[in-house]
């Protein structure tokens, strides 16, 4: 097995494990650490490919992944927890994490088989199904979690899935770096602007009605 494939496979397994870990956690601080590690793993893969392919685009993507999704947004989310202690844990999810984890494993298996049945002949690379599995995991997190910060983590996981898919089977996708920048801008808008407005408009942070988005 060539070194690049080994690196890709190792990182892929790591990303998959972090994705499953994120589904089984209800405390927000470990979730933030988890998504930062996942982003860092992805950045390692991007950096490796940038080096072996001498690709400046991939180097930019690696730098962006570290700067925005491994450092900036996680740091912002940590500050939110320190400011608003009630956001420390997703209360409703605490009772359901076992169910979430089982659903996540089941969905990962289903997504893997769907990929093998439909897309594998076109994308024969080892681990090509992993971005698809990661995308489904991100959607599951967004669909099942109600805590604002956890939803941001779900969004970041989806973005990681897109970058992962881009480098694995559409590396010459036009304007890919710009597209990822755009996704990052949206991520920053999500956490930076709307969460700040939330504090400004609701006034009292302990007005925890906004924690569990419902209705």
């Amino acid at each position: 097995m060539p070194v690049t494939s080994e690196v890709s496979a190792l990182v892929g397994v790591g990303i998959l494990l972090t994705a499953l870990y994120l589904q089984s956690e209800s405390f927000v601080a470990p979730l933030i650490r988890g998504i930062a590690i996942q982003s860092l793993l992805l950045a390692v893969l991007l950096g490796w490919l940038a080096w072996t392919d001498a690709s400046p685009d991939l180097a930019i993507l690696a730098a962006l992944t570290i700067a925005i999704r491994a450092l900036f947004i996680p740091a912002f989310l940590r500050r939110q927890i320190r400011a608003f202690r009630w956001r420390l844990r997703e209360v409703h999810a605490a009772h359901r994490v076992t169910g979430h984890a089982l659903a996540a494993v089941a969905l990962a298996i289903i997504a893997w088989f769907v990929f093998q049945e439909t897309l594998a002949p076109v994308f024969p690379e080892k681990g090509a199904a992993l971005p698809f599995v990661l995308l489904v995991q991100g959607l599951l997190m967004l669909a099942t979690r109600t805590n604002t910060l956890v939803q941001v983590i779900g969004y970041l996981e989806e973005e990681n899935a897109i970058v992962y898919a881009g480098v694995l089977f559409a590396s010459t996708f036009p304007l890919f770096v710009e597209t990822v920048v755009f996704l990052d801008v949206l991520g920053v808008v999500l956490v930076g602007v709307i969460l700040s407005i939330q504090r400004d408009v609701t006034g009292v942070p302990e007005a925890a009605g906004l924690e569990e988005l419902s209705g």
Binding site: V122, L135, I162, A170, F182, L183, V189, L190, Q198
Partner: protein
């Protein structure tokens, strides 16, 4: 396709006008800001109309181009942008402690319109995706204008759910690029790639991804919140043109599928469309807020339009006509809703009565607009829905036609009975009726509902041929 220099000017103007208006609206002087927004919107409308009249299909460089389909949507977006800008002035004046200054509001409105118009003049599927995503960035803050905690929650849901959906759409584009080596929508549609599992998967993912922004079931959950919490001119743009623009992005992916469309894709469109239409029609019955009711009505219409696309033939033409007429009718309904909200300070249907005496001009337009959005004859929406039903029967899909008729009837009864109660119902005494209210802006509502009416009774020069050509591009046909 041939490029015409005159048309390139209109394409440039249709983008430059809202972009410039967005920047110029930030001037410190409120009146100057308003007029910058109005001038930009009118210039964009002029450019969109000129493109439709010149019926030019052309390309400019590797990324810009228009055809009949984009021209129809351009006119729709530019029209509702213009009327929304015009309506906004009176609405903003009545908002207590707005979260945005009028200057920022107009700047964001311009950016929002620019993002939609840009989506419609690019030929690259990746840029279209960026355009749709940019609509989220530009419009999310507009939802928070009235500074309610529920508005923030609605903006949050909207941004998060729409963006999550759009990442799925981006995944679909990655698959298309990986299997065809191109994202040029015009070139790929002219010589469609062979039907492969990858292409079918990409179309299905694009439907789910863009469908989130269209408001298709079960990805619709952001829609009623954002529509009901946003200011009325923004709700008008959401319902009238944002949802169709997202559908347009899907249609560009759908156009890559060779005709006849594989049964699996047709079934997928019909399933999503019918479920959305029926659920939208039934859910609107349960709403206590008139703005949420109209939001669910939009969901129903988007479902019907998707059914029309899935059936093809004259139903596809009907779907495009329905979208066009609905944009005017629904924006009119939301402008009236804004007037009622300003007068009574509530969106609760049970708290509003006797509008015909208190807001006579608004009430009249509201009754007509409500009839129009639910497909009452002789509005353009009626003709569109009739063609969808006729197309289903012609294609041998009688059960589909019956479900469509059910959704139309349920929505018609639900919306019109509630609006009838608010307009003609006597005051209950539980809440003293406001004696009079701001009818300002009712003229714009009348104008838009008038357009929806004209679309149903008169063959409009230039628009009819454009709709026919647009339907033909997607494999449809005119009646």
């Amino acid at each position: 396709m041939t490029a015409f220099p005159a048309s390139s000017f209109w394409v440039f103007l249709v983008l430059a006008a809202p972009a410039s208006a967005s920047v110029l609206a930030l001037v410190p002087h409120a009146a100057a800001s308003r007029w910058a927004a109005r001038t930009g919107a009118l210039l964009a409308l002029l450019a969109a109309a000129a493109l439709l009249v010149s019926s030019t299909a052309g390309r400019w460089g590797p990324y810009l181009g228009v055809d009949a389909l984009s021209e129809v949507f351009l006119l729709m977006v530019a029209s509702i942008y213009a009327t929304s800008v015009w309506y906004s002035d009176g609405y903003l004046a009545a908002v207590h402690r707005p979260f945005l200054t009028p200057q920022v509001y107009y700047a964001l409105l311009g950016a929002f319109a620019f993002a939609m118009l840009a989506t419609l003049v690019v030929t690259d599927l990746g840029l279209m995706w960026i355009g749709i995503e940019a609509t989220t960035v530009a419009s999310a803050l507009l939802v928070v204008l009235e500074r309610r905690p529920t508005s923030v929650e609605a903006a949050w849901r909207y941004t998060l759910i729409a963006s999550a959906g759009l990442t799925v759409a981006l995944f679909a584009l990655l698959l298309i690029y990986a299997s065809t080596g191109s994202l040029d929508a015009f070139r790929l549609a002219a010589s469609p790639p062979p039907v492969t599992r990858t292409l079918l998967m990409a179309v299905a993912l694009a439907l789910v991804g863009y469908g989130t922004k269209v408001g298709l079931f079960p990805m619709h959950t952001w829609l009623p919140d954002a529509h009901s919490e946003g200011p009325s001119p923004v709700s008008a743009m959401f319902s009238g043109v944002l949802l169709p623009t997202a559908l347009y992005a899907f249609l560009r992916v759908y156009a890559l599928v060779p005709r006849p469309v594989p049964p699996s894709i047709e079934a997928l469109l019909l399933a999503f469309g019918l479920l959305t239409a029926v659920l939208g029609a039934f859910l609107l019955q349960r709403q206590r807020s008139f703005k949420r009711m109209f939001a669910y009505s939009s969901m129903e219409v988007m479902g019907l339009a998707l059914v029309g696309v899935g059936i093809g033939g004259i139903a596809l033409y009907g779907a495009l006509l329905l979208l066009f007429a609905h944009a005017f009718a629904k924006s009119s309904a939301f402008y009236c809703a804004g007037n009622v909200l300003r007068a009574d300070g509530t969106t609760h249907i049970d708290d509003i009565r006797d509008l015909r005496h208190r807001l006579p001009r608004t009430a009249g337009a509201w009754v007509l607009a409500s009839s129009a959005v639910t497909g009452a004859p002789p509005f353009g929406t009626f003709v569109g829905e009739l063609l969808i039903v006729a197309g289903a029967i012609t294609a041998g899909l009688t059960p589909v036609a019956l479900v469509v008729i059910l959704a139309i009837l349920v929505a018609f009864l639900g919306v019109n009975s509630q609006v009838g109660r608010m307009v003609f119902g006597a005051p209950s005494g539980l809440r003293p009726a406001t004696p009079s209210g701001p009818d300002r802006g009712a003229g714009i509502a009348w104008l838009n509902v008038g357009v929806a009416l004209v679309l149903g009774v008169v063959a409009i020069p230039y628009l009819g041929p454009a709709l026919r050509s647009a339907a033909a591009l997607l494999g449809g046909s005119a009646p």
